[in-house]
Amino acid sequence: MSEAKHINLYEDHEWKHPTIVAGVPWKNPVGTASGTFQYAAVRWFYDVSQLGAVCTKGASPVPWEGNPSPRTAEGPGSNLNAVGLQNPGIDHYLATDLPQLKEAGAMVIANVAGHSDDEYAEVVAKLADSPADMLEINVSCPNVSHGGMSVGTDPVALGKLITRLRAMTDKPMIVKLTPNVTDITVPARAAVEAGADALSMINTLLGMRIDIRTGEPVIAHVTGGVSGPAVLPVGLAAVYRVRTALPEVPIIGIGGIDTGEKALEYLYAGANAVEVGAAALFDPVAPLRVARELDDLLDERPELAAKLAAGRTWR
């Protein structure tokens, strides 16, 4: 890609319907989802300060090399990914992505990855004094402290981890839940009781594809995480059920959002805001487009808009 300024197709828009997530004001309820946004890659396409928030790729204490390739496959209406959380590490993040994004005027959610409780703590310690606006703890990483299972599937371990991280910083802390559990309200409750300021959901569903030409899995890691339009009903049910179980906790809805209408469904399900993931891989401007569509849809729904603006939700 040759050097060029971003297009700013949308720059003159005055956002009409803000929201508040865990006390933090967002200019609109639409952010990017972790792992599907890189400033260096999308800055050509739009002004990132126009989003409600930008949630960055999971950062670990040291660089991670991730899984071997191929890392992706296509499902019906979905994408499968097995990045294995490749990232250049928290120090690189603090030196490059974060300052660039703050410089560009973005509201930044720093997504945190770790393979053990200590690793999470190491990253949170470094973010505590950073200009990141919010932290999002991705508890779906395979965790060596928990026999390789993600800490997000074990409410006791999750409570312990969040209690520890909570004590390290005053930054609003979002815990991002995995849908690959029997009852998502259980880890949700554990996270909130341990001090999480907000919850985001869903991370990806476990899935795989096989290449019938070879009979072998398409993805080298065999299984991957399913995301995109196909997971919409699963994400909505997760948000609705957690909202019902925990009427007060701020929730960021994620999963299958590629239009303002679908974002709106999440708000009706009880979310305070949403994040757009896979859609941004297929169309770089998707998060901003969703935000614009939602902004207009909320015009016709003053009651919902007023609740969001006041930091409350539909349910």
């Binding site: 040759s2 599907t36 890189q38 390739s69 890392r71 990045v83 941004a280 569509e293």
Partner: protein
Amino acid sequence: MATFTPTADVVAEAVQAGYFPPRHTVEITDVTQLAPGVVRLAFHDPYIAAHAKPAQFVNLYTKDPMRLMPRPFGVSEIDGDEVSVIFAVVGEGTAEFARYQAGDTVDVLGPLGNPFKTKNPAHYLLVAGGLGVPPLVRAAQHLAADERSRTTAVVGYRDVRFADDVFARYADRTVSIDNAHGNVVTLLDRLEADGGLTVDGGLTVDGLETVILSCGPLPMMKAVAEWAAKRSLACQLSMEQRMGCGFGTCVLCTVDTVDGRLKVCADGPVFTREQLGWGE
């Protein structure tokens, strides 16, 4: 449904102002079958036509909302405002594209990725295998405009030799082989042994160093890199990998290099044999 997907007007305006175009819809100008299962598709796109360099690629998107992922294809030729790609029908996405006709539309994003480095005058030995042909056609086309460099195209096909004529139009010399008769590396060896690899007989042409630009199946490219290493030739290889976005945002398209796992879309698709650690 409210939608803010940029219209043609907005894209045109942005592009005129020097911005990089987002995903947008273009008109298809030609769909031709070059060989059984091999199709040339051309579309009208002034921005991509003006900017796409050899080994850069474009994402095409299917119209089937069940198939959301990008289909990346190397740009193979540019003619005025027309951009063409050549692809093999391997799955449902390429099957859909093959059904298109002139006048239909397709969504496109590009040009993406980094080009072959062809600034220095050299004898560029374009070694293509199968559907590695397109970026090397573009390289031949691009270099044809460069008075200082020379080009030799060495092409391996599966069965039908579908691109010899277009290579011949641009390259100083074109030699090809098909599966029944061997592969590009056997061809390179034979040509070298015969003294027929270049117009000058040896590895240099008009005193220009030979630089290999290659694209093709993985085993072929590894063999080419080794062939180059044995002769201490510079060798740039254009890689393929399954992609999630094509523009550097998802880290789904990595290749193992001596510098770690790099993105084929944004760090490549072109890597040197040294970067890949091949032929050492």
